[in-house]
């Protein structure tokens, strides 16, 4: 409960700050001319990228999972791998490669390449597990192959697409680094600029309130698009693997398509980073990789530990089958964590300045921000792991003399340890590449890989930036494995 309240706090604080000097002034601030530009930029970016990532993600997932495309196992990894390259690293690489790349076009290109795996991953998982029996039933009921695909397959895939697009939308709303580098102003970049230039956290809060409204809108659209339909598989019997569609002469074309996509999304960043990495002598700034790596790992470990421990009470509630409470708790945490990192950071700045100023600019606040931002990743993993432990085992433990808590600690927790550890790893990876909140909240003198990279890239020192970027990519690489391994329907990132 405490965790949930803590997570809901940022939104409340930011809105309160925005309204501090009266509603009228806040409204005036919102309706300044620049806000309209930010708004249209943000919305057009979100809409365009959502459409493009859906097309790329669904198309690639279909080719990999449901056709005779050679090397499906390889492509599955290659098309999830872009998630290991932070978007701001990707945009840095592209800005270096095509110096003229700016504005909406550049922003759409880079963020689409970075985020399409959010759609690919869940859709591929659904397509892979889809029972062929249903398609055969549709064919037997007189539907042709094309109508079978649209009415059965697409209907089954829809929740996965919607879930993926939701993630793309929320990530776009909170993206700072990639867009700032491509000089494409949105609400998030504007809030940071306000803060850095004017040190004005009140007009920042006003902008953040609009951003919260946008995030809530995206969540609502997602909720509406999901509908109330059921997508569980009914009945028993083994699931049969579907027969893949024969590509035949189209095989080279399909290979070219997935090859080009993964080349652009992973190949280009890796190639450019490697090129800069072998020329450290061209760096104009001294490279301090180890200190940055050290503080990044420390912060990430602390945040992952706190976030994982914080999910355990919720996991216990879930295990004791008090479902409505768990559901409420989880929803609050989930919605609160859909808030862009910049909002969370802003709220914590406001809170610490106003209430507990000794904490301002300490690592504690930074870790708190990480925990609030990334707790859903730990929560989803832990919840799935605990849910997989049959409740009858807890009954058995109680019949053998355990009190409920003892049964949880002796049976359910050990059995869900793997999933909980995966959650820990996901938080660790997320923290090690976090930029926005870190820029705002990092104590003076503390440099993480992300901020060190950011400082170097801001002065276009590619050679100095590359080692930090490579370190981040290497730290994130296990993410690909974790995401592919996870059987959970809900995306983890």
């Amino acid at each position: 409960m405490v965790v949930a309240v803590l997570c809901a706090l940022p939104a409340v604080v930011v809105v309160a700050k925005a309204l501090e000097s009266g509603l009228g002034e806040a409204v005036d601030l919102v309706w300044r001319a620049r806000v309209w530009e930010l708004f249209s930029n943000t919305v057009s970016l979100v809409v365009l990228v959502c459409v493009i990532t859906t097309t790329l993600g669904v198309g690639a997932a279909w080719l990999v999972e449901r056709t005779t495309l050679p090397g499906a196992g390889f492509w599955r990894v290659a098309l999830v791998a872009p998630l290991a390259v932070p978007a701001f690293v990707n945009s840095f690489v592209w800005a270096d490669l095509l110096p003229g790349l700016e504005g909406l076009g550049g922003a759409v290109l880079v963020t689409s390449l970075s985020y399409f795996p959010f759609v690919f991953l869940p859709v591929a998982a659904v397509l892979r597990s889809l029972d062929q029996g249903m398609e055969e039933a549709a064919r037997a009921l007189g539907l042709g192959p094309w109508r079978t695909f649209t009415r059965v397959v697409l209907a089954e895939v829809r929740p996965a697409v919607v879930g993926g697009v939701l993630l793309v939308g929320l990530h776009l709303l909170s993206e700072f680094g990639a867009l700032e580098m491509l000089r494409f102003p949105t609400f998030t970049t504007a809030i940071l600029d306000q803060f850095e230039v004017a040190f004005d956290n009140r007009s920042g809060s006003v902008l953040a309130t609009v951003l919260i409204a946008l995030a809530v809108t995206v969540l609502t659209l997602d909720w509406l698009a999901r509908g109330r339909s059921r997508h569980a598989r009914l009945g028993s019997g083994a699931t049969r693997r579907p027969t893949p569609a024969r590509l035949g002469r189209a095989t080279p074309l399909a290979l070219l398509a997935v090859g080009a996509l993964s080349l652009l999304a992973v190949g280009v960043p890796v190639w450019r980073l490697a090129r800069w990495l072998v020329r450290p002598d061209q760096a104009s700034e001294p490279i301090a990789l180890l200190p940055a790596l050290g503080s990044t790992v420390q912060l990430a470990l602390a945040a992952a530990l706190v976030a994982t421990l914080a999910t355990l009470p919720a996991a216990w509630l879930l295990a004791s089958r008090r479902t409505w409470l768990t559901l409420l708790l989880e929803r609050v945490t989930y919605v609160a964590a859909s808030l862009p990192g910049v909002v969370v950071a802003l709220a914590l700045i406001t809170l610490t300045l106003d209430l507990v100023s000794p904490l301002y600019q300490t690592a504690w606040v930074l870790v708190a921000a990480y925990v609030i931002l990334f707790i859903p990743r730990a929560m989803v993993s832990t919840r799935a792991a605990v849910a997989q432990v049959p409740p009858e085992l807890a009954d058995a433990a109680r019949a053998l003399g355990d009190r409920p808590l003892a049964a949880f600690l002796r049976v359910q927790l050990p059995l869900s340890l793997r999933g909980t550890m995966a959650g820990f790893a996901l938080v660790f990876i997320a923290v090690s590449t976090e930029l926005t909140a870190t820029l705002l909240l990092a104590p003076t003198g503390t440099t993480t890989l992300a901020t060190a990279f950011w400082d170097a890239s801001a002065v276009l020192d590619y050679a100095a930036a590359a080692p930090y970027a490579v370190a981040m990519v290497l730290l994130s690489a296990p993410l690909t494995y974790l995401l592919l391994r996870s059987k959970s329907e809900e995306p983890l990132t």
């Binding site: 049959p390 009858e392 085992l393 009954d395 058995a396 433990a397 109680r398 019949a399 053998l400 003399g401 355990d402 009190r403 002796r410 049976v411 050990p414 059995l415």
Partner: protein, 356 residues
């Protein structure tokens, strides 16, 4: 050992009343089988006794102690009961020994005390303790689950269809091993099952359950031979009901005039319960078939050790009566042939019903 007493138990599952007032007594050291079709509430009843579900009303007593009452609630872990579920529910992260000693004190867990003894009690080799549950067969898992429950020397052992997930050959062997172990421990046992053979062979008392009530409880032979109603009769085995009229200790029905000692307290219309093994078939016209009626074979199911023959009796012209007879031996009458049918032993009478 302690007796178990249930009185007036009502309970609901997801808002629907499942148990409608259960009264049942299990004397100390005896075994009671609760027999009923799936969905009759028998597992719910077991979960109420175990403490996994709170009843709406009613009382559960273990010995003299009330564990559930109007204002009493004893948590499952404090009831001193043993519970074995359908799938055994062994803890997959613990070894067999770890499972068996799970409910013991920390000191006893360390000492691995009683592991070998308990394994032998349930008919398993004593060196099985180091195995992991997934290395055991289904029957072995069930035996380990029982050993785990018995390790705490429970006053009452609850068995929830513990053999139904096993294949038939394993089922009998496991059942015998479990029965022997329970007898050795002189435990008070409640077994929930939908398998009549299991209930009849396992228990000292059978409680027939239907739609959330216990319709009849008594020793197996009594419930089998003298069921209170049609459903109790059918749930314990193949049964045929033939309408008849009883008068002065004899009942007249399609199979002739049969004597009923004492008349079962009936006069007038009644139903005659006939078990397949009560019917004797012979060639029509053979000696000793005087007074037997003639039936036409409409269906014959061959099971190897015996056969079940459906016969249409021509006694009542407007409503032909169909009965089933069990025949032993190699010859099974062919469909369409005519056989003589006689009734062996006194029939049991039930109140007449209009439905058939």
């Amino acid at each position: 050992m302690k007796a178990l007493h249930l009185s007036g138990i009502t309970a609901s599952h997801q808002g629907t009343r499942v148990l409608h007032g259960i009264d049942l007594s299990v004397p100390a050291g005896t075994t009671t089988a609760v027999l009923g079709p799936s969905g009759c509430g028998k597992t719910t009843l077991l979960r109420v006794i175990a403490g996994f579900l709170r009843p709406d009303t009613g009382e559960v007593r273990v010995g003299d102690e009330v564990v559930v009452g109007d204002d009493t609630w004893v948590a499952p872990e404090k009831r001193g009961l043993g519970y074995v579920a359908q799938e055994g529910n062994l803890f997959p992260h613990l070894s067999v020994a770890g499972n068996i000693t799970y409910g013991l004190s920390r000191r006893d867990r360390r000492a691995r005390s009683r592991v070998g003894e308990l394994l032998e009690l349930v008919g398993l080799p004593a060196d099985l303790g180091t195995r992991r549950p997934d290395q055991l067969s289904g029957g072995q898992q069930q035996r380990v689950a029982l050993a785990r429950a018995l390790a705490r020397r429970p006053d009452v052992v609850l068995l929830d269809e513990p053999f139904s997930a096993l294949d038939p050959a394993l089922r009998v062997a496991t059942r015998e091993a479990v029965a022997a172990a329970l007898a050795h421990e002189r435990a008070t046992v409640v077994l929930v099952t939908h398998d009549q053979a299991e209930a009849l062979s396992f228990a000292d008392q059978i409680a027939v359950m239907r739609d959330g009530v216990v319709t009849q409880a008594g020793p197996p032979a009594e419930v089998y031979e003298r069921p209170k109603d049609r459903l109790a009769a059918s749930s314990l085995g193949e049964a045929c009901f033939v309408p008849g009229t009883v008068h002065d200790g004899v009942v007249t029905c399609a199979l002739g005039v049969l004597s009923v000692p004492g008349g079962d307290g009936f006069t007038g219309a009644c139903d005659v319960l006939l078990r397949p093994e009560q019917l004797r078939l012979s060639e029509p016209g053979e000696t000793g078939t005087v007074g037997a009626c003639i039936g036409e074979v409409v269906k014959a199911q061959y099971f190897g050790h015996d056969a079940l023959v459906q016969l249409r009796i021509a006694g009542a012209p407007d409503a032909p009566v169909v009965v089933a007879a069990r025949t032993f031996g190699a010859t099974v009458p062919t469909v369409g042939s005519r056989v003589a049918v006689s009734v062996d032993g006194p029939p049991h009478l039930l109140p007449a019903t209009t439905t058939s």
